[in-house]
């Protein structure tokens, strides 16, 4: 993080293998996976109808209890998987954007990529009410690429000041956001869906979303991990990076495109969720240090945890009804942002 003096001893402590020769990022990742599995299992159990742990497990692995089987496999299990992808998508996009813009406030939502994908999907839905999920996904991808393309134009040489880039992002975000609201309000349909979409939520998501996201989320996530080393080099400035053999503009464009696709995957399922992409990379850096090769995959895990956890809470607070999950992530993310601005930025 910012110029905090680290004594040589601290430094050695952080970098030395912690346990049985295993390094810190692996330990953190293992703990995060355990937490994610725990939240996922709770998500299978709890909801409008609560299942006991053994019922949920039975429903997951066997056909013996038709009711539990139905609740787990038709509703909760796909929704948990969707939540993991949504969270990982936003968090990966945030980690890539923070790295490529060298801006600690970068986040797909703050920088308008989310709104761009959301506007495209809103246009698609309003234009064709019966549009299949893959059509929405394609619209989201197109919108996400436009949003990240705009960022590329603004951040062209990578030397744009933090403040200017953030302001430009806010402007893009506000513009597309207003267009979305205007479009949905004037179409006089889907008020129920619109609220979930605008606030961001997992209501009614299922296997269709999962099957639609997976084919492009997986390659984009793998690409994100593969380019993470180059973020470390870009962080040294364009001249040093070019001297080390990174084609800086092409690399920036590639990374922004990957971030656009990952955002699109998340938006196509969950709508306009905020703060996941901002918070998770910071938490990752806080726990595993500044090396993007660790920060990027760890961010994905944290994103999955945050969204599945927030969705679980969103389903429980006024059960059997539910609130949009984005309210919970904003409730966690906004105080974090304030803390960050006050004490770290």
């Amino acid at each position: 993080m910012s110029g905090i003096a680290v004594t040589p001893e601290d430094d050695a402590l952080v970098r030395r293998p912690l346990l049985l020769g295993i390094r810190r990022p692996l330990i953190v990742a293992s703990l995060a996976v355990l937490l994610l599995l725990g939240i996922s299992f709770l998500s299978l159990m709890l909801g409008a109808v609560n299942l006991s742990a053994s019922d949920a497990l039975t429903g997951l692995v066997s056909n013996s209890d038709a009711f539990a089987r139905n609740v787990v496999w038709q509703i909760r299990y796909p929704r948990v998987l969707d939540g993991m992808i949504v969270g990982a998508g936003f968090a990966l996009a945030g980690a890539l954007l923070q790295g490529v813009t060298r801006n600690p406030l970068a986040d797909p939502t703050i920088f308008g990529v989310t709104a761009a994908a959301g506007l495209a999907s809103a246009i698609a839905i309003v234009a064709d009410r019966t549009i299949p999920q893959w059509g929405i996904a394609m619209a989201c991808c197109a919108g996400g690429l436009v949003g990240s393309g705009l960022l590329f134009v603004i951040a062209w040489r990578g030397a744009v000041s933090t403040v200017r880039l953030a302001l430009a992002g806010v402007a893009i975000s506000a513009f597309f956001g207003a267009a979305i609201v205007g479009l949905l309000a004037s179409s006089r349909t889907f008020l129920q869906i619109s609220l979930g979409f605008l606030a961001g939520g997992m209501y009614g998501t299922g296997w269709v979303d999962f099957r639609t996201m997976l084919p492009y989320f997986i390659p984009a996530a793998i690409a994100a991990v593969l380019v993470s080393g180059r973020l470390n080099i870009l962080a040294l400035g364009d001249d040093v990076a070019a001297g080390l053999g990174v084609l800086t503009d092409r690399t920036r464009l590639l990374i922004l495109a990957i971030a656009g696709i990952l955002t699109a995957a998340a938006v196509s399922t969950a709508g306009l969720v905020s703060f996941v992409g901002l918070v998770c990379p910071h938490l990752a850096r806080f726990t595993v240090g500044a090396d993007n090769r660790a920060v990027v995959p760890i961010s994905a895990l944290y994103g999955a945890i945050l969204v599945t956890g927030a969705d679980l809470i969103a389903r429980l607070v006024i059960a059997p009804s539910e609130i949009p999950m984005g309210i919970i992530t904003a409730g966690v993310g906004a105080p974090f942002l304030l803390y960050f601005v006050k004490f770290r930025a």
């Binding site: 910012s2 003096a5 991990v225 080099i233 040093v240 080390l244």
Partner: protein
Amino acid sequence: MKISVSRLVLNYGSRVVVDGVSFEVPSGQMVSIVGPNGSGKSTLLRGMARLHKPHAGQVLLDGVDLRSMRSRQVARKLAILPQSPEAALDLTVRELAWRGRFPHQGPLQRPTQPDVEAVEFALAAADLRGLASRPLGSLSGGERQRAWIALALAQQPRVLLLDEPTSFLDIAHAAEVMNLVRRLNRDGLTVVTVLHDLILAARYSDRIIAVNNGSIAFDGSPRDVLQPATLEPVFGIPMTVIRDPETGLPIPLPKATCI
């Protein structure tokens, strides 16, 4: 490894900054490029390092055009330390040096023994072993500059290009950095340095190229180039040159016009 520049033209937009420059730096030579502000010397160095796309002409490494090589391939042979690189203040010295292994590593490759050896060699050569775990933000200007040189050395280059490595350094830190570079050069590294300081250029070069208005004004040994007759037209002021009593090397000075 030798590096040559052949009829190189570098533009900023439509403005010609380097105008058809040709020269060759033989393997193991240490060359300083001097010249007034805006003469195009930094742009020339950036062009030599493929950081500035040539409008015309070529840069050749051992006779091979840089543009015919992949950028990573170039980075395994040629390293550049740009002028005052942006501070990555939270990185430790060793982490920074490790970044120099990028051109040698695949995206998911674990560090290899040669990687470890190259980094440790770079840290030792830059005399940074004791500071390896310190973040850059806690170092002095000279130490920080040595850390950036360690990054370049970890690339295991055969040619090292430096853009004003001593600017913002006091005389002791400047000497510290130049001594390091000269030592590496004595071990066979080809070095081209853009320098403002003519006294450092005299002391630490085999050859000096004076650039003015995008062209080479003079090219020769320090004794030949650092003469009032060559410096005055380049810098546009009256100059005087005295001799270092110890080495006999020329020490150029601006002539006092108002004391």
